[in-house]
């Protein structure tokens, strides 16, 4: 059976079909999880895709955190289930306290839509287990609020625990310590601003996102075997 990946859909999410397409293209079986349902439907991994969940009113991700599905995602994450938040999904995971820190407005106050170069900093996460440390990946970003911020203690812990997953080669948004993606302590929850699903084919200008999607599918497959 194919590895099942749940893709969360809030009102205002707009990248869910791209993610579904990319996951299916790698041999996974993606299904959309509606935000109003308090369940992850027994999937093997969860992706919170990009967009503007609940209009991003108040703060990005602030309202989405209270959607019924997030209770299920939180229990799933705490039980070790692989969870990845892309762009707005990263913001939602921070607001839900599944990841530390916050994403605030880009330093230059510009909406950024461009392909950036990233460096893989650790391979011991559900999103990078198929990559090599030091790998350079070209993946698009598409955000106004991708400027990672946290207090000094949190940053020191992230560094000491090797929890910075991806860094920008040329920091586009003012992110603290060039951070493009981080993971939680258990390394099963990862948030990143760049969109791997938009770098899933050379037709799109880059296929560098595939190693990340394949990593997640590998982690999901492992979990499926464990819980079977």
């Amino acid at each position: 059976m194919n590895t099942r990946v749940g893709v969360v859909l809030f009102p205002g999410t707009n990248c869910e079909l791209d993610v579904v397409d990319a996951i299916d293209g790698r041999g996974g079986s993606a299904e959309v999880l509606w935000h109003g349902d308090d369940t992850t439907k027994g999937v093997d991994a969860v992706i919170i895709p990009g967009g503007f969940a609940h209009g991003d009113y108040l703060r990005t991700g602030a309202i989405a955190r209270f959607s019924p599905v997030m209770q299920a995602v939180t229990s799933y994450a705490r039980a070790g289930g692989p969870v990845v938040g892309i762009c707005n999904g990263f913001q939602v995971l921070c607001e839900a306290h599944l990841l530390p820190g916050a994403l605030q407005k880009n330093a230059g106050l510009k909406f950024l839509c461009e392909t950036v170069e990233l460096r893989v900093e650790t391979t011991s996460t559900v999103l990078t287990n198929r990559a090599e440390a030091g790998d350079r990946l070209r993946i698009p970003i598409n955000h106004f609020e991708g400027n990672f911020a946290c207090d000094e203690r949190t940053l020191a812990r992230l560094r000491a625990d090797d929890r910075v997953v991806l860094r920008y080669m040329n920091n586009p948004n003012g992110s603290l310590d060039d951070i493009a993606g981080i993971c939680n302590e258990a390394r099963n929850v990862v948030g990143l601003m760049p969109h791997p699903e938009r770098a899933s084919s050379t037709l799109l200008g880059s296929a560098d996102g595939l190693v990340l999607l394949d990593s997640l599918l590998a982690a999901a497959g492992q979990r499926a075997t464990m819980t079977a």
Partner: protein, 81 residues
Amino acid sequence: MRFVARIDVSHLPGVLDPQGATVERALPALGYHNVEEVSIGKTIRLVVDATDAEAARQQVKEMCERLLANPVIEAYEVTIT
């Protein structure tokens, strides 16, 4: 009793304030060269029904911690009238 709560949300000290920084750079262009420490936040106003002002303040502070502000990057001040 009905109380009006005003919540001023601002950046925590040390957290970059891109809007404040941009406005601070724009003001000298208009001839205001004596301006510094520009900071941009937001104001939330709401009416709350509570037994007294202290109860209203406590409840609004709880709302701030849980939703209205993000304590990771934001500070807030509650005024009850």
